[in-house]
């Protein structure tokens, strides 16, 4: 489903990603963890080319991405890859259902009724069917993030990317969002999740990547990586979290 080969990215002289190589197969849920500034979010954003990179290739859903990929190919790829942001980024001038139907209606020219029927199904899935006509400012942070997940799912993507989806939320709101993500994962969605939630990494993920200084320091099953980390970076990182 995804294969990353020798991916490198520089910000001026600083190397943000160094020669990253990794593969993800269909149905996997990858938790991406590690100290801040290590390149977790950058790697995730390279996967749908929201962040351009200098060297290497990314293959995702059958599209090969690189600096010379034409804009139309990128747009087509992005309709197959959903993304959820830390700050939700809902469109404040549209209500929940319009936020969800906007992209399918304009990128796939889907008709209004069909798009709205599916949007209501998705809202049902995230437990917000009764808030379909609410505007973002009328929703709590947790509700907004669940609408954002429904919005990302509206184009029926093959892969979902989550960039710290619960970091901006209060603890009691995180559980609702986590619940939605867990259901998605067990439903067979291919997911990559940048997160600080060790519970999620441990219980839901099929694999955990520990990223530090632009490389994947450790890659393995959660019980191996979280409970018995092999690398110094991972040991130090999990030890600090447990304190």
């Amino acid at each position: 489903m995804i294969s990353v080969r020798s991916l490198s990215k520089r910000h001026g002289k600083r190397e943000v990603l160094r020669n990253v190589t990794a593969d993800v197969t269909k149905g996997e849920t990858i938790a991406i963890v590690g100290p801040s500034g290590g390149g977790k979010s950058t790697l995730l954003r390279c996967l749908n080319y929201l962040e351009p990179f200098d060297d290497g290739t990314v293959e995702i859903c059958g599209f090969t991405l690189g600096p010379k990929t034409p804009a139309t190919t990128l747009r087509e790829m992005r309709t197959r890859v959903g993304m959820v942001f830390q700050q939700f980024n809902l469109f404040p001038h549209l209500n929940a259902i319009d936020n969800i139907t906007l992209a399918p209606r304009i990128t796939k020219k889907e008709d209004k009724q069909k798009a709205e029927a599916r949007a209501l199904d998705l809202l049902e899935k995230v437990g917000l069917r009764d808030r379909a006509t609410a505007f973002p400012y009328e929703l709590s942070g947790g509700q907004q993030q669940r609408v954002a997940i429904a919005r990302a799912l509206a184009q029926q993507p093959d892969v979902m990317l989550f960039d710290e989806p619960t970091s901006a939320l209060d603890p009691e709101m995180r559980d609702d969002v986590m619940e939605v993500m867990k259901n998605l994962s067990t439903g067979g969605m291919t997911m990559l999740v940048v997160t600080h939630e060790m519970q999620f990494a441990h219980d839901v993920a099929s694999r955990v990547w520990v990223i530090d200084k632009g490389t994947i320091a450790e890659d393995g099953r959660p019980d191996q990586v979280v409970d018995e980390p092999k690398s110094d970076v991972a040991r130090e990182f999990f030890a600090r979290l447990r304190k």
């Binding site: 929201l50 747009r75 400012y137």
Partner: protein, 498 residues
């Protein structure tokens, strides 16, 4: 804002306007005591108001020495002052405000092609004449018109607040009102109007010499130029009349007029008075209707100009924020050019400057001129609004596979317009008032109607208040509409308590 609060605000605004107008109006009412002549003698100087824009041969800057002011009226004034035993000094004022400025006491007398009319006789003292003029009709060569009575329904140009204008108002023609001598003839030559009626002095110099134009041989009317003196200054009038009589007797007046090639047989004839006398008007239903029509013109121009300014401004803002180097530079040049020069200048260039290339009608020129100008302001408002939208919005749209255009159309522009609504309302109200500038290109809108009415009513007070009320009536519903729109579109932007 609750209903009663709004009503109070309106009442206070109106009251302020009325009291302001009354305060300004008071000065005009009482005739000054007869002290001006004594003051002149004491100072050793008589000041006279005139407008250099009237041009050759009245009062104008000497082409070979621009510090020196010359003209037949300068020579006559010098000769009059010599007889009073003082020096004369010209003071520059806009022609159409000469009489009110005289009444305010800004200078001692007016001498600038001031015609002897009933309105002026009512309002100020007028001296004996120093020149007999004729109203001359100018048409295009090849046009078989023989008299002004053949011009029914046609467009005839003239200057504001002249006898010629009064004559045109009594005829079944459509008068076009200009502010300078040259423009009416240029517009006649390119077909924007069918004839021009103006004093023979102006016609001879600016119109009859144009190979495309022809002046009719018969005078439409005759009148005289006189000196304007404040009411009450009876001894000053006597002194000036005596000086003029002496100049006539000694032949000095004839000499001066010959020097400027103004001497003709008309000067030998007795004072003919004026061909036209229009009685003063009151603010009646007909005048109210004229104000309504002018208000409609103002509204029409403002709305159309704004409809042009909004999309063009948005395009410029998008070019500046998202465009490549060339687009950014082009948008910046446009904005600096239109924001950095007076809109009045832009209107002149658009209407007169390029008339040989594109012959725009006055309404079109007004709408395009104001629209292009305001687009520059709107562009910066929208640029600020676009920059105020969080980056995450664009990222979300891109991550969903929207093209740049789709992102603009569905995500950025709707949000930018919400943010820009308060400054846009500001700009629209400002445009409503700036539309008064288009009177320089012959459009009669509210402010122009006010200045015309002020002459008919023999005072600025009533006309001024009426004009102010019309502007408020136009702008208030619009700001109210904007307020409601804001409430509907920007529900999440309500402030929280500080």
């Amino acid at each position: 804002m609750s209903q009663w609060y709004r009503a109070v605000v309106i009442r206070v605004v109106v009251l302020l306007w009325v009291s302001l107008a009354l305060g300004l109006g008071c000065g005009h009412q009482d005739a000054a005591p007869d002290t001006t002549l004594a003051g002149i003698k004491q100072r050793g100087e008589i000041t006279w108001g005139a407008d250099l824009q009237g041009g050759e041969p009245y009062v104008y800057e000497n082409p070979s020495n621009d510090k020196e002011i010359t003209g037949f009226e300068v020579d006559i004034m010098d000769a009059v002052a010599k007889r009073l035993g003082v020096k004369a000094r010209m003071v520059q004022y806009t022609w159409s405000t000469l009489v009110p400025s005289l009444e305010r006491g800004d200078f001692d007398i007016v001498m600038n092609g001031l015609e002897n009319t009933a309105e002026r006789r009512d309002r100020i003292l007028l001296s004996d004449p120093y020149y007999v003029y004729a109203e001359t009709l100018t048409v295009r060569k090849g046009d078989p018109v023989r008299s002004i009575f053949e011009l029914r329904g046609k467009r005839v140009g003239t200057l504001n607040q002249t006898v010629a204008h009064d004559i045109l108002l009594m005829l079944p023609v459509e008068p076009l009102v200009y502010e300078d001598n040259d423009a009416p003839y240029k517009d006649l030559a390119i077909g924007r109007e069918d004839a021009v009626l103006l004093d023979n002095i102006i016609a001879d110099r600016y119109g009859c010499k144009d190979p495309a134009l022809r002046c009719l041989p018969n005078d439409v009317a005759r009148g005289t130029y006189v000196v304007g003196i404040r009411k009450g200054d009876v001894s000053l009038k006597k002194a000036i009349d005596a000086a003029l009589a002496d100049m006539r007797k000694s032949g000095e007046l004839e000499q001066i007029l010959r020097k400027y090639e103004l001497w003709d047989d008309r000067q030998r004839e007795a004072d003919l008075g004026v061909g036209v006398t229009r009685p003063p008007r009151t603010f009646d239903l007909a005048m109210f209707w004229q104000f309504c029509q002018a208000a409609w013109v103002t509204l029409e121009i403002s709305l159309a100009a704004f409809l042009l300014a909004v999309p063009l401004g948005m395009l410029l803002a998008i070019m500046r924020v998202y465009g490549n180097g060339f687009a950014r530079a082009a948008a910046r040049v446009y904005i600096e050019m239109f924001r950095g020069t007076p809109v009045l200048l832009q209107l002149f260039v658009l209407y007169y400057g390029i008339s040989k290339l594109i012959n725009l009608g006055p309404m079109e020129a007004a709408i395009i001129g104001l629209g292009l100008n305001y687009a520059a302001y709107e562009a910066e408002v929208y640029r600020g609004a676009l920059l105020a939208i969080p980056r995450g919005q664009t990222e979300a749209a891109r991550a969903m596979g929207m093209s740049p255009w789709q992102t603009l159309r569905h995500v950025m522009i709707p949000q930018a317009l919400r943010l820009a609504l308060p400054p846009m309302t500001n700009d629209f109200v400002s445009l409503l008032k700036d539309s008064s500038l288009v009177s320089v290109i012959t459009v009669i809108e509210l402010t122009k109607r006010m200045t015309i009415a002020a002459v008919d009513l023999r005072g600025w007070l009533v006309a001024g208040i009426a004009c102010a009320l019309f502007y408020l009536v136009l702008s208030f519903p619009l700001s109210e509409l904007a307020r409601r729109l804001e409430r509907r579109l920007a529900r999440d932007q309500r402030p929280i308590t500080l």
